[in-house]
Amino acid sequence: MTLLRMFLVQTKSHFVWYFRRDGEMMFWTLAMPVFFLVLFSFAFSDGSNTGSSRFLVPGIIGAQVLSSGFWGVGVMLATFREKNLLRRIYITPMPPWVFFASLVVYRMALLGAQAVLLVAVGAFVFHVRIIGNPLEILAILVLGTATFVSLGTIIGALARTTESANNVASILTVPLAFLSDAYVPIDRFPHVVASALRLLPSTQFIDTFRDVAVGGASLGAYGVWIGALVVWTIAGTAISARTFRWV
């Protein structure tokens, strides 16, 4: 009971302090992805609009999962440390896993809101239909979030300052968004390059998510990539746990 209340109050605090009372954060989280969807849908239009939007709705959701892990968790942890919040939390009886669970659940809630918004705009404006099995969609989203949160936590663990965490997150997030089949189809690259990019966990996650959500594919057909994502998650969690510093 104590742990549950700790977890709930901490999660609610994250939400109220870092989202609901932060207009800039709300804008970046909710308005920007929709703005990108609309902008790129028209920019890459193949005449029908649905074609590019059908690619972009899952692509942008996937890119948000990436930035959620790298920025939302990685940079946030570095900021917490720089502002001495982590050391203050460390001396309370809260178990570390409760703190991390609250952070992950908070980010998942925001991702859920982003996904619902993007799917709604995609459906009403661009007639994009989500035809996949809802449970499988949820499963791959949760796995992807776990992967990139665990990798993002490494940034938060190793970065000395908020600024360096920011730089690392930018270097990773921006190129990956364009090289992982999120905004731009990697099929447009030469075959060798596209094959190489499919080795990235970000590409594997986004392609799997897209094929399941709008392609109606079954998750079972992506066993190897799912296995790879699980390995990345375990490795990321292990490295984070070994390197994380509270002070």
Binding site: T2, R5, M6, L8, V9, Q10, S13, V16, W17, Y18, R21, D22, K83, N84, L85, R87, R88, I89, Y90, I91, T92, P93, M94, W246, V247
Partner: protein, 312 residues
């Protein structure tokens, strides 16, 4: 050997950062129900010592026991956390949180029922429960940090420079609260570079300099031992000490000013000096009496002045 009856027992604590030795074989013991002050300028090793006691810093060497538990052992530290309260130096709280929410979150950390109204009143933040951190002064944030350290009713309180940046009002509130806690049997360890604070609050003061303890005693003992003589100074045309005044201590003259250094009670000496000046018909231009203070003792012990201390 460590003394298990003490609330805190530190034996030869050493902490090195690379080639720098921040704390060099410090030993001290804090009896339950007392206030223990670590006094020294910034960088003397006070904060490092305190951080090792609460498990934030990992000692390079030595032994620490807090309530019989070893903060360097994860299992002990886990048990210790709910029994200690900590106000860290330069605590930063989430800017967009308000007072009530922070108190509620910390109550959840300790698995206790939040008491926002009571705690806010205790630290002089009544009526400010809905105030956001970003709209509070540094002193108000420090007082909230104190409330967070107290809410779960800990047995031992660690306060790192608790009144740094506080105004007189905040300082009075904090001092009264610390004394009240001691009177209810709690143990308090505080670091400070304010001599007045150390003198006013501490049952025992530990003077820390360059990572070592250079003196440890009650403030009164430190003053008696290191504070030097009390002094009476007088500037009066036609005054010079007679034989009876000579017996009170050592007289020196600088310009027009006569100065008596006395081991006796300076008030009585002052009265005798005034009586003789009046009897001699001398016109008193200035008259002063100086009791040795903890500051005098501190300067004698460390060779550092208060100005150095404040601005260091």
């Amino acid at each position: 050997m460590t003394d298990s009856s003490a609330a805190i027992d530190v034996r030869r604590l050493t902490k090195r950062y690379g080639a720098v030795t921040a704390v060099d074989a410090i030993s001290f013991s804090v009896p339950r129900g007392t206030i223990f002050g670590l006094l020294g300028r910034n960088g003397a090793g006070k904060t490092t010592t305190l951080e090792c006691c609460i498990g934030i810093g990992k000692p390079t060497g030595g032994e620490i026991r807090v309530l019989g538990l070893d903060p360097t052992r994860p299992r002990d530290l886990a048990r210790l956390r709910s029994r200690i309260g900590v106000q860290l130096q330069a605590t930063s709280l989430p800017e967009k949180a308000n007072v009530r929410e922070v108190l509620e979150l910390y109550a959840a950390y300790y698995g206790i029922v939040p008491r926002p109204d009571e705690m806010a009143a205790r630290v002089g933040l009544d009526g400010k429960l809905d105030r956001q951190i970003s709209q509070m002064s540094g002193g108000e944030q420090q007082r909230l940090a104190l409330a967070l350290a107290l809410q779960h009713d800990p047995d031992v309180l660690f306060l790192d420079e608790p009144t740094a940046g506080m105004d007189a009002f905040g300082r009075r509130i904090l001092w009264a609260e610390v004394e009240r806690l001691r009177d209810t049997g709690k143990t308090v360890v505080l670091t400070t570079h304010y001599i007045e604070e150390a003198e006013r609050l501490s049952d025992r003061v530990c003077v820390v300099q360059r990572g070592t303890i250079v003196a440890e005693a009650s403030p009164a003992e430190l003053i008696a031992r290191y504070g030097g003589a009390a002094a009476v100074t007088i500037v009066a045309d036609g005054f010079s000490p007679d034989a009876s005044l000579e017996r009170l201590g050592t007289w020196t003259k600088a310009g027009a000013e006569w100065k008596l250094a006395t081991r006796g009670e300076p008030g009585l000496a002052l009265a005798a000096v005034v009586t003789q000046a009046n009897a001699a018909g001398a016109k008193i231009a200035s008259l002063d009496m100086h009791h040795p203070t903890l500051e005098d003792a501190f300067i004698a012990i460390t060779g550092e002045t208060l100005t150095e201390l404040e601005t260091a």
